[in-house]
């Protein structure tokens, strides 16, 4: 089975300078009635992105001309808190994002993101502030995320290392399917059941 793959990416970014963005903002619950993963990109940040009459809210950052084609979201602290809905990364990926940079991610969101090839890049507050300031001056700022070296860099600066657990990194670099990996342990699971149940 095909699993998402990621090695490196150089792309423009868009900054959402809000902390504690919860999954209800990323994708409101009324769109969770879908029974597949497709089509959620249109609903990403729906209540911030659209006005009451359904037209695009020109003030929202994703709707500004300089945001078009950006593949990296630079978000505030504690991104993705709240519910466990995997619809949140489905919507971000559906919109065209391949990575999110923040100073902290909520646990379940981070796990869900990786499984969908969306790279959660955690950097220190000082580096984050520097990135946001540079991007404000230069809307075309290119960011490079290299999973092989676990680094993120911009404008030829010294690359900043970001943490990612080794297993997720291997899965993404090699396109390993996690369910396939887990299935290899079925004999051990049976032994466990025989001993415990």
């Amino acid at each position: 089975m095909s699993a998402p793959k990621f090695t490196s990416l150089t792309a423009r970014c868009v900054v959402l300078p809000v902390q504690d963005v919860d999954t209800d903002q990323i994708i409101p619950a009324r769109f969770l009635k879908v029974t597949d993963k497709l089509g959620l990109g249109d609903k990403l940040f729906c209540d911030w992105r659209y006005l009451d009459d359904g037209s695009l809210n020109p003030k929202f950052i994703l709707n500004q001309p300089e945001a078009q084609g950006a593949e990296i979201l630079v978000a505030g602290h504690n991104f993705g808190c709240g519910s466990s809905r995997e619809h949140a990364p489905w919507a971000l990926v559906g919109f065209g994002f391949q990575a999110v940079i923040s100073t902290m991610f909520a646990d379940i969101f981070k796990g869900n993101a990786v499984k969908n090839g969306l790279i959660p890049v955690t950097i220190e507050p000082a580096a984050h502030a520097e990135l946001v300031a540079l991007r404000a001056k230069n809307p075309d700022l290119q960011i490079t995320i290299d999973l092989q070296t676990q680094t993120v860099s911009w404008l030829g600066q010294t690359p900043v290392t970001f943490p990612i657990d080794p297993f997720s990194r291997t899965c993404l670099l090699e396109g390993v399917d996690e369910l396939g990996y887990l299935q290899k342990f079925q004999t051990q699971a049976e032994a466990y059941e025989a001993a415990h149940v």
């Binding site: 089975m1 300078p17 809000v18 902390q19 504690d20 919860d22 209800d24 903002q25 409101p28 619950a29 009324r30 969770l32 009635k33 879908v34 029974t35 597949d36 993963k37 209540d47 009451d52 505030g76 602290h77 504690n78 808190c81 709240g82 519910s83 466990s84 809905r85 995997e86 902290m104 909520a106 646990d107 379940i108 796990g111 869900n112 499984k115 969908n116 657990d165 080794p166 297993f167 291997t170 996690e178 369910l179 990996y181 887990l182 299935q183 342990f185 079925q186 051990q188 699971a189 466990y192 059941e193 415990h196």
Partner: protein
Amino acid sequence: MSQNPKTLFQKIWDSHVVAEERGAPTVLYIDLHLVHEVTSPQAFSVLKERGLKVRRPGRTVATMDHSIPTKGGYEAADEMGRIQLRLLESNANANGVRLYGLNSVQRGIVHVIGPEQGFTQPGMTIVCGDSHTSTHGAFGSLGFGIGTSEVGHVLATQCLLQRKPKTCEIRVDGTLRPGVTAKDIILAVLAKIGVGGGTGHVFEYTGAAIRALDMEGRMTVCNMSIEGGARAGMVAPDDKTFNFVHGREFAPQGAAWDQAVARWRTLPTDAGATFDQTVTLDASSLEPMVTFGTNPGQGVAITQPLPQPSSLTNANERAGLEKSLAYMKFEAGKPILGQPVDVVFLGSCTNSRLVDLRAAAGLLKGRKVAKSVRMLVVPGSQSVKLAAEAEGLDKIFKEAGAEWREAGCSMCIAMNGDQLSPGQLAVSTSNRNFEGRQGKGGRTVLASPLTAVASAVAGRIADPRPLMT
């Protein structure tokens, strides 16, 4: 002191390791997998694509709660909601999974029926595609929410890949004063640590105030652990726990019961075991708590003025507070008491059990819901509903002017048609006050059932204590 003292969490973790490979997360065995209609369709699709079946249907339990109408019948659901409910039926049937379907008298919110039917037991690992799986930790189990990919993993293998979280003790000493409840404890914890404060950790709640809570109160506290960013929340099992589980349909019986209790008694954290972090709180000093912002960590004692953004030194936090107050249409420095209320919602996996309805009805008896307020009472399960009706609680609610509904998540998540209109203010016993959570443009104040009733009666945010003398 034991030789190698361990925490409750550590004991459960260690006893569920199936395998560990270098450089990979632990393969953890899952004892109980709870399933609902919203986060399971895509997981069942993966099984179908790969020609797999549910590996342990006997350890899998499904219910309908999120999209389900609380007025009864499928008819009230919209087309997509109906498709989702029917799909769960066919997936459960095709895999031999027990389903508490639309007409089941035991159907209810997944985190209410697990304990109610005796599925939830001490020492277990419990998962669900739902972040409030932390609720089950009240029984001294390890319960946590997972994403839909992981729902597929557990359906197919009964195992999960997990990295071990850190531990945090939340010690709540002292005695609660009248009118202050388990909900106020957890809202105070969240106000103290913030919505990201528990990220990467599992909480264990300890201390005299936690031991004094009944099982329902412990569930309320553990339920909102995820609101602090924690993976799970736990309370060591004791006689209250065992008495609650005893005699329930899926609890061990006879000799198996005695063996189980003997095993469960070894679970509590050993003297001398250490936590990665500790947070303390004095229950004796607590007042009823309410949230004023758009995340559950933005809470204050009900008698206190709203905080001033200018008091915050961190620019991001200041911006966050300003944004929240603007959305809520509340003014910094002003009291929250007396703000006019449009809707009162009594329900959700946080506060919809029989004891919550009893406490609310006790305060509402002989009083009326203010004319300007719509009050919804949504029991956590059909069993709760029937038990409440047997005690006549439904009459108290209806006579006061509240709506008495069928079980479901209802206005906690506003997927089933029960929702706020833009601008409306709700006092809600649920767990999330995110922007639009209870309906686009709706404003939510989280509170205990007692504060919710006092506010329904006054038509304004009100302190329940004056009504209790």
